[in-house]
């Protein structure tokens, strides 16, 4: 699966034996994080998610790769406790701290037909880097 929103930003899934990898890319690390969050949403549902409510999250970590895992885990946590799905994301990164906004709605099983529930983002195939073409990419395996 490979859905490029624009030449400079996009997301994709990549295979793992038991689970699934998510990768986002963009002109900044923050944009790559936002795109990877869209890939995470697509793990759960291919249906449209309405952006009816906003949730704020904050994360910090010893380095930017672990910050990326923390960001995905913050989304997974909010999905689980609020029974919500999120379809739009905004990220601001300040060193190893992150402030994010998630926009979404309550899960509607009939309309979203959620395929699986992410358990946690992992350190497997974890990579956040500025690539040789100047774009940032952020990827890891998600346990589902």
């Amino acid at each position: 699966m490979n859905h490029s929103a624009a030449p400079k930003a996009g997301w994709e899934h990549f295979p793992h034996d038991a689970d699934v990898g998510v990768r986002g890319w963009g002109s900044t690390a923050g944009e790559a994080f936002e795109q990877a969050a869209r890939a995470l949403k697509e793990v759960v549902t291919h249906a449209e998610v309405r952006t009816q409510a906003a949730v704020e999250v904050k994360c910090d970590a010893p380095d930017i790769e672990i910050l990326f895992v923390e960001w995905l885990n913050a989304i997974i946590y909010e999905m689980a406790v609020r029974k919500m799905l999120f379809g739009r994301f905004a990220v601001r990164i300040d060193g190893t701290r992150l402030t994010g906004t998630l926009w979404g709605e309550q899960v509607d099983v009939a309309r979203h037909a959620p395929a699986c529930e992410p358990k946690g983002a992992t350190y497997t195939a974890l990579r956040v880097a500025k690539e040789s073409d100047g774009r940032w990419s952020a990827a890891c395996i998600v346990d589902v």
């Binding site: 034996d17 099983v109 037909a113 699986c116 946690g120 992992t122 350190y123 346990d143 589902v144």
Partner: protein, 476 residues
Amino acid sequence: MDLARFTCVDATTWRIEPRDPMRVPVIIYADENLIRDMDDKVYEQAVNVATLPGIVKASYAMPDAHWGYGFPIGGVAAFDPDHGGIVSAGGVGFDISCGVRTMLTGLKVADILPVQKPLADSLSRQIPAGVGSRGGITLDPVEMDAMLSGGASWAVARGWGEARDLERIEEVGTMAGARPECVSDRAKERQRREMGTLGSGNHYLEIQAVAEIFDPAVAQVFGLVQDDVVVTIHCGSRGLGHQIGTEFLKEMVVTAKEAGIVLPDRELACAPINSEVGQRYLGAMRAAINCALANREILGHYSRRVFAHFFPGCDLRLLFDVSHNTCKVESHVVDGKRRELFVHRKGATRAFGPGHESLPEALRPVGQPVLIGGSMGTGSYILVGDAAGEQKAFSSACHGAGRAMSRHAALKQWSGRKIVDDLAQQGILIRSPSTRGVAEEAPGAYKDVGAVVAAAEHAGLARRVARLRPLICVKG
């Protein structure tokens, strides 16, 4: 994997000799075809585990091993706290104490067939499954801590289960040493309304028929009769376990470094058993084991309610309840000496042989039931622990078929709708909120479970008792 990378000890035992920085060898139990089909990552991950401090004897992989996180899924490793041994959050995994229980119904396939469809519909309505589902139980902080300390015994005391079940659950239904105060508020919040929910992914509730008996004597002790119907539930500690795994993984990356442990993979994040973090993790992980035991007990209770509606007077008896993702303190004889070891099983089943003191009286003469989940189309197996298993891999066996293909690849190959229709033709009813979820769990995406259990038997890990074929499968 390339067979040339192993020393072939016998037809189902493959060894990687220790080389720096490995402290012990790797031993993989599998037949030639299974090992050839395994991802190279299994080799890499099993070798990485062999480098961890305090590891005893070997880093093992079961016949269903596949690429996991840090540890391979199907990985077994024991650590000695007196020799710098570690406990690893990655080695236990995210879904702490994910496991399987099988309950005997005393019904025949012929009893089920006339009501197969309404029974499937009723189970899928009554068993909360999948994303966005809500259980009927909400825990306040006091009840949360009581559940985390009491496990299945807590569920029974609240009326969600039966006291006679407890001796048929590992740890007699309550994992000792649980410390609810070591579980974060976020982990508890994630579980507040999750008790009695099945989850999603590879978790399921199945109604199965006993299709084949391999060992009539043990089958009789287990209460398994040809064409009898059983209920099997596969699920774990839900959001609570996931959150504990996530949080300690992050913390242990730092503490491993502080303890001078070189991690070949950050996912192997660990802490010395005899350290503050190690002890705190053990307290939290044991609380998560109790959460999983309570959750499966409640789901068993819900199944009983549905069966009582369709078959008044029907008595569901628990055969056994096993856990897959754990670290447990066990006493094992190593080179003639009895030692207390911290045995990590990541996607592997404990498989005690005959005579083990933890087994209930009725099962002690034959050994522990080892419940192996297959895929929804091909069926499952019930094995029994083998006396030889202790020397083979600290009394451990495989846990399932193991995936042969990624979800990604499965989605490209199969349509969920068609799988549901094809299986219905074969008399297997699938109930799931998501056809895509069904495609990701397609029978063809899994290894041949028959080959996996045959290899486990040949290797002396556990012996086959019965094969089960699915009649109804409720998936999240």
